[in-house]
Symmetry: C2
Subunit: 260 residues, 2 copies
C-alpha cells in the first residue's frame, strides 16, 4: 500500500485486498475507532462521549443514514471502507463482517472516535521510545477503578493504555501528547498502577503484556476501549464497530488533530 | 448578594428576590447559557454543539426530565434557579417567564453552554483592560460570514463578541483565554473586522457599540449567541432559554473551567 493515497487505500479495502490491521497504513493520517448504532441510542451515546471526553474523543458523527463521515471522510463509505467489522447484538458478539451493506439501516448513526495511535509518531519524533511498536506488539490495556460519568444506558469503567517511558522523558511525553485532545491527550496518570486499581501491571485486560525496563515509569492514557465496554453494557439491539486494529483511515492528518 | 453562597443566591432567585442580570453575582463562579428543548431535538442540537465547539462549548447536559444539572449544579432546579427565562415557539419569541415549572415537561433536555464572561476576570487579573466592563455596557456582538457546520435542522452563522485590546497585549489576551476551551477559548481573529464579513465595527448586531481607542486592535471571540441563532432557525415547537444576561450560576469555579 506504500505510496497510495487514502482514497486508493479505501478502494483496495472495499475490493477485499486488505483484511489486516491498518497499523502503518497511510502514515500521517489519523485512524479512528468506529461505532455505528441505531439513532434511538445516539443522543445517550453522544452524551456519554461528551461527559467522558478523555476516553471518548469525538472526531466525527454522521447523521442517520449518512454513510460518508462529513468531516473525516466526505468521499468515503463507512459500510465498505473498514477492513473488518464486528457486530454486537444486545451487547453480545454476533460475528464479524467485511462489508456491512446488508446490516446498515437508514436509522443508523456513525461515530468516529480518536485513538492514541495518532500521537505515537510524534512521541517517536521527539525521541520518546514506544515499546509496543519496537516489539511489534499490541499496546497493553487495563480496566481501571475509575468509573465514567454515565449517560442513559451507557456506563462503565475507564480503560487505559500503557506505555513505559524513561523517567526523565515522562514530562516530555505528557507535553507532546497534551495537544492531541481528540486522541486522548495527556496521560491520566504516571507511576504506581495501584492508583488506578491495577494490581499487576504485567497482567493486561486487553492487548499484549508490557516490557518495563529499569528506570522506566508506566504512563497511562485514556483508551478507546472505554466506549466499547459502555456499549456492551447498554445492550442496544445492534451495534457495529471496527474489529480491533482494523480502523477507519480518515482524511485528517495526525498533525492537524493536535491543537496549536 | 455579597457574601452569599451559590446555593443561597439560587434560593433568593427562586423566591423572586433577584430578577436582574447575573453579572457580578457569585464572583469566581462560572455562569452558563441555558437551552432547554424537547428530546426529539436533543441529538441534533448536541451534534451541532460538538461540530461547533468554539461557539457552542458544552458545560453540562441533563437527561430528559432531570431538573438538576449533574455536573454544574447537582443541587439546583433549572426550572426556578434562573432569574428570567425566554420562551420560543417554532423559533419565534413567545414571552418571558420567572419560573418555568408550568412549561417544563419530562421529555425536556437541558444544555448549559459556556460564556466568555468566564475569562474576563482572568484578563483583568493579567492587566488586560476589558472595555465594556470599564464602561458598564454589554459586550459588542456581530454576526460573521462564517457558517457553522450544520447538524440536522440546526444551522447558521457564527456570532462573535469583540473586545478592543492594546496592540502589545493581543498575544497575551490570546494566551490567557486559550485554556478556557469551555468558555470559547482563544480569539478566532484579531484585526481587520472585514475578514469576518463585519463591514462597520461600530454597528453591532447585539449588545452595545464599542469604544476603540488609538493603538487598540479589535479582538473577536466566538459567542454564545451562535446557538441561539441556530435554535431560531431550527424552529422546535418549544425552546426555553435564559433571558440575555440572566444566566444560570454554576457550582464550577471559573479557574476550574480553564484547562491546565
Amino acid at each position: 500500500m506504500e505510496g497510495k493515497t487514502v482514497a486508493q487505500i479505501r478502494e483496495a479495502i472495499a475490493r477485499g485486498e486488505w483484511r489486516k490491521p491498518t497499523s502503518g497504513l497511510a502514515p500521517g493520517y489519523t485512524q479512528a475507532n468506529v461505532v455505528i448504532l441505531p439513532k434511538e441510542y445516539a443522543f445517550d451515546f453522544l452524551l456519554f462521549c461528551a461527559r467522558n471526553e478523555k476516553p471518548c474523543p469525538v472526531i466525527d458523527v454522521s447523521e442517520p443514514g449518512v454513510v460518508s463521515p462529513p468531516v473525516a471522510g466526505p468521499g468515503a463509505d463507512i459500510r465498505i471502507h473498514v477492513p473488518k467489522y464486528r457486530v454486537y447484538r444486545k451487547g453480545e458478539p454476533a460475528g464479524e463482517a467485511d462489508d456491512i451493506r446488508g446490516l446498515y439501516t437508514p436509522d443508523m448513526v456513525t461515530f468516529l472516535l480518536g485513538c492514541s495511535f495518532t500521537f505515537e509518531q510524534d512521541l517517536l519524533d521527539n525521541g520518546i521510545p514506544v515499546r509496543h511498536i519496537e516489539l511489534d506488539r499490541n499496546v497493553p490495556m487495563y480496566v481501571t477503578n475509575r468509573e465514567c460519568r454515565p449517560a442513559g444506558a451507557f456506563a462503565g469503567p475507564m480503560v487505559v493504555s500503557m506505555r513505559p517511558i524513561p523517567a526523565d522523558l515522562v514530562e516530555k511525553a505528557a507535553a507532546v501528547t497534551k495537544p492531541y485532545r481528540k486522541a486522548h491527550g495527556a496521560p491520566i496518570h504516571a507511576g504506581d498502577p495501584a492508583v488506578l486499581g491495577i494490581r499487576d501491571v504485567m497482567k493486561v485486560d486487553f492487548g499484549d503484556p508490557p516490557e518495563i525496563r529499569p528506570g522506566e515509569v508506566p504512563v497511562f492514557w485514556a483508551c478507546g476501549v472505554t466506549p466499547q465496554m459502555a456499549l456492551r453494557r447498554a445492550k442496544p439491539e445492534i451495534v457495529i464497530t471496527h474489529a480491533p486494529g482494523h480502523m477507519f483511515i480518515t482524511d485528517i492528518r495526525d498533525k492537524d488533530l493536535a491543537e496549536s
